[in-house]
């Protein structure tokens, strides 16, 4: 069954821990779990995101993930508000994940990655969720 976890990994948390966190989730669960992670801007108190590409990507990802294989899990990680993200010392930028932009959509444990405008390209997002 498909699980959607919105993880509030933002201010005060380490981007490095996020990477290990993701790996731990994958190993803890069934090893046949397809684990995906979406790194996106943290919305403000009104639920509005500062990142236009993230806003465009959300509905595309929501629709495409309906056709992801069984045992798929999407973790959404919030990288911070605009100022926090632009800071070169942002933990997500410094981590093994080597994030350089948001939104970034990855299949954990693989080299599959889409960034920025690619995340609102339906055929690319579908390709990332597709089973090999």
């Amino acid at each position: 069954p498909l699980m959607l976890i919105a993880a509030e990994i933002g201010l005060g948390s380490s981007g490095i821990n996020a990477e290990y966190g993701l790996r731990a989730v994958k190993e803890y669960q069934d090893s046949s779990l397809h684990l995906f992670a979406l790194f996106t801007g943290t919305p403000d108190e009104n639920g509005k995101s500062w990142c236009p590409d993230c806003v465009r990507a959300d509905p595309v990802i929501e629709e495409a993930i309906q056709n992801a294989p069984e045992c798929s899990c999407l973790i959404t990680a919030y990288v911070g508000d605009r100022v926090t993200w632009k800071d070169r010392n942002n933990n997500f930028r410094k981590s093994d994940l080597q994030l350089t932009s948001v939104p970034t959509l990855i299949k954990v444990g693989t080299e599959k990655r889409l960034e920025e405008g690619q995340c609102s390209n339906r055929t690319l997002v579908e390709m990332l969720f597709e089973e090999d």
Binding site: T110, E111, K112, R113, L114, Q118, N121, T123, L124, M127
Partner: protein, 496 residues
């Protein structure tokens, strides 16, 4: 991009069989010009069950991982040099698995980027094995055995080739090839490279450079087809560095003493014939690099009456057209240098001629190349033997010299000295036009690539003499050549 007006009813304008350097370049250029394109790519696993993703030989099991492993081994040399420059490098070791892990990560990231690129450019990609049904139809099968039928107006064959195994008992069971070495999950251990090809010598070179006990088994001469002086110096350098050579010798059988595990290489007993006598030795890894065969016979060529040579190479005209009107061939399938940039160039120009208004043909003459052995070898144009055969010995003037890169002056004297070398081959009957340039030394690819412009523009010896060199570099050696082979004068070095 507006689509081309279609004068046919087929599924696609263009079907490319093979998603390597040539195939992808052709497919993307054709799509850019409005053609509806499909690429078929499928890798049959090696006997050791190795497989890889989209991108072809160069990216996955050729140029790219080769250059990275060659670089890894050069860093070992530089670390030794660094000590002479005052660096403390006392705690230095090498991890095979870290290196392979990082290289494979890079390759897999590129496999994915290529898939994204094709999707963004609207090129259909099927990870399926295509074979011909008729001149406009292929049948393709995916790894689960599902089939589909696809029709196209035109086809480009770009399947390239795969390494040969010899007809030697135990070879396919226990030995690997270049298809396996770059992703080998265990440390190769004591290795035997069989073959005198650039693939064998490049692999032996970087394995030795990474601290691995390496032996090369050769039937006769090294680097057949390359300039003889340079091939000899490469062999001499490799031997001086500690790589063992058994020559002449041929393998006769391979037996397994201890099976490989997930994390360790096997123990193999290799029997070989030297001077009519059978000898043997144990190795952990045996790597065959005895030649590559095009995959021409695997696409059911008889279904379309495709003409091909006994060695499976596909003859084409100057526009890369085969004997079948709507079928073209590029890349390693051809009787031409097996080089990525050449395949890319011919793929792009072919697409521009088919779907754009271009008439430009690919120039297969004066294609530069570099062999990334520990002593790197860059060349463009003819070897000395080829030049003599073409122009006659009396018309050929060979200028040559040894040189020492300034960076290496800190090295202690050793048997490795005196191998860096440069040669210009000139045609006296044509103003001493340069017909061949050969360089042995560091950064061979960078140097040869630059000077090749001169060759394709018809540079003469006096043009090279007119050029003032950059100092201190290795490239400047080509601007001060004065000793000819004919003079018999010594080329041992003097100080500058």
């Amino acid at each position: 991009m507006p689509e081309l007006e279609r004068a046919h009813e087929y599924n696609f304008d263009l079907a490319v069989i093979g998603g390597g350097s040539g195939g992808l370049a052709c497919a993307k250029e054709a799509a850019k010009l409005g053609a509806k394109v499909v690429v078929f790519d499928f890798v049959h696993p090696t006997p050791q069950k190795t497989t890889w993703g989209l991108g072809g030989t160069c990216l996955n099991v050729g140029c790219i991982p080769k250059k990275l492993m060659h670089t890894a081994s050069l860093y070992g040399e530089l670390i030794e040099d660094a000590k002479q420059y005052g660096w403390d490098c006392s705690k230095v070791g090498h991890s095979w698995s870290n290196m392979v892990g990082n290289i494979q990560s890079h390759i897999k990231a590129q496999n994915w980027k290529i898939r994204v690129d094709l999707r963004e450019k609207n090129v259909t990609y099927y990870n399926e094995y295509a074979t011909f049904v008729d001149t406009h139809t292929v049948k393709s099968v995916n790894k689960r055995g599902n089939e589909r039928t696809v029709t196209a107006d035109k086809f480009v064959l770009a399947m390239g080739g795969r390494p040969n195994y010899p007809d030697v008992p135990g070879a396919q069971d226990y030995a690997i090839t270049s298809d396996d070495i770059f992703s080998l999950k265990y440390h190769p251990g004591k290795t035997l490279c069989v073959g005198a090809s650039y693939i064998s010598l490049e692999c032996a070179g970087f394995l030795h450079g990474l601290g691995i006990d390496t032996t090369v088994l050769v039937r006769s001469i090294l680097l057949r087809g390359f300039d003889r002086d340079c091939a000899d110096k490469i062999g001499s350098y490799m031997e001086a560095s500690g790589i063992k050579f058994i020559r002449p010798g041929t393998p006769s059988r391979i037996e397994c003493v201890k099976e490989a595990t997930e994390t360790t290489a096997p123990e193999l007993r290799v029997f070989f014939t030297v001077d009519g006598e059978e000898k043997s030795d144990t190795f952990n890894t045996v790597l065959f690099a005895i030649g590559r065969a095009p995959l021409t016979d695997k696409i059911n060529p008889d279904a379309i009456g495709l003409k091909y040579d006994p060695n499976l190479k596909v003859p084409v005209d100057e526009a890369e057209k085969t004997n079948v009107d709507n079928v073209y061939a590029i890349g390693d399938l051809l009787n031409a240098p097996e080089l990525t940039p050449l395949a890319i160039q011919s793929g792009r120009l072919l697409a521009k001629r088919l779907y754009g208004n271009s008439t430009i043909l690919t120039d297969y003459v004066n294609v530069p190349t570099t062999v990334f052995t520990p002593l790197e070898y860059g060349s463009v144009g003819l070897s000395e033997d080829q030049a003599v055969a073409k122009y006659g010995e009396e018309n050929i003037e060979v200028y040559h010299t040894k040189h020492t890169p300034t960076e290496q002056v800190v090295r202690e004297s050793s048997p490795l000295d005196g191998h860096n070398f440069a040669k210009l081959i000139c045609n006296k009957a044509d103003n001493e036009r340069i017909v061949g340039l050969h360089y042995l030394g560091p950064n061979a690819g960078e140097i040869t690539g630059g000077f090749s412009v001169g060759l394709i523009m018809g540079a003469t010896k006096s043009d090279f003499d007119r050029l003032v060199g950059i100092h201190p570099t290795s490239s400047e050696v080509f601007t001060t050549l004065k000793i000819t082979k004919r003079s018999g004068l010594s080329i041992e070095e003097e100080d500058c």
